[in-house]
Amino acid sequence: MTVLTEAELTARVANTLDLLCLVQAHRVAESPQPCFEHHSRIGFRRADGGTGTVVLSATSGFLRQIATRLLQCGPSDADLASAGRSALDELANITGGEVVFLLGAEDDLFELGLPAAIDEVVEVGADGEAMRVVLSTGQGELAVAVSIDGELACIAHADGRGPRA
């Protein structure tokens, strides 16, 4: 059984970047002055109660890199900015799916929303539990923040100690 931990979340996101974009990423410490300029958010809801969100924040270097890899185009391509935005939304969608899966969605009914760009990130975990990991690709960074409310916190502990009951 897998559970939602920082290590598992990091592994899932790194695997996504590897499979889909052929980009290698590893976890790094949060920079004291992060320059995450692009954000995408996706929400999810469990049929029996409980909600959560996943927010991806990316540096421009990261967005440029994954858009270049996904579209197999040059870094000066005119469509790169919009492609980067679209790629970040899709990464949010996939990461949301992975988080829901880790929360037990093989057996529980979850509804995953649609990813949407947001201007800035509000503090995560205000009314529940949260975790945040930062990955570096060498050319940029991606922060992944997961926030779940109290009902979902019962089945997944952000500190990685307690798996589902």
Partner: protein
């Protein structure tokens, strides 16, 4: 007539990835059409059917589940094979899609090679 494929996916970037996977699959697709949601796809399919549909499930306007239900009720397009490319991992939802005739699932994230292999095997199976 050559092999015709439709990609139903709301993400333009992922559509590009999937298009490239089909092009590189070696099936010799004569036409690859794209739709951004199920509603667009149904309209396009009614005008001209295809031989294979690659279907995202989580989309705006009309998602893949509703598309599958609508498609199953339209005799002209009901038999077109569908590969569901999705983040969905829930057994009940997957079983619901199987009851609508969708048998092949590729879970995101996927490597483009995986999609290429599936498309190529379907082309081989069905001639």
């Amino acid at each position: 007539m050559g092999y015709r494929v439709m990609i139903v996916e709301d993400s333009p970037v992922l559509r590009a990835v999937m298009r490239r996977a089909v092009e590189q699959s070696g099936i010799g697709a004569s036409m690859i059409r794209e739709a951004g949601n199920g509603h667009e796809a149904l309209a396009a399919l009614e005008a001209e059917p295809v031989d294979l549909i690659l279907l995202d499930l989580n989309m705006p306007v009309m998602d893949g589940f509703e598309f599958a239900r609508e498609k199953a009720g339209r005799p002209a397009i009901a038999s077109i094979p569908v590969v569901a490319v999705t983040t969905e991992g829930n057994r009940k939802k997957i079983d619901g899609l199987r009851s609508l005739g969708i048998e092949i699932f590729l879970r995101k994230p996927f490597a483009p090679q995986q999609l290429r292999d599936i498309v190529a095997s379907l082309r081989t199976d069905r001639g």
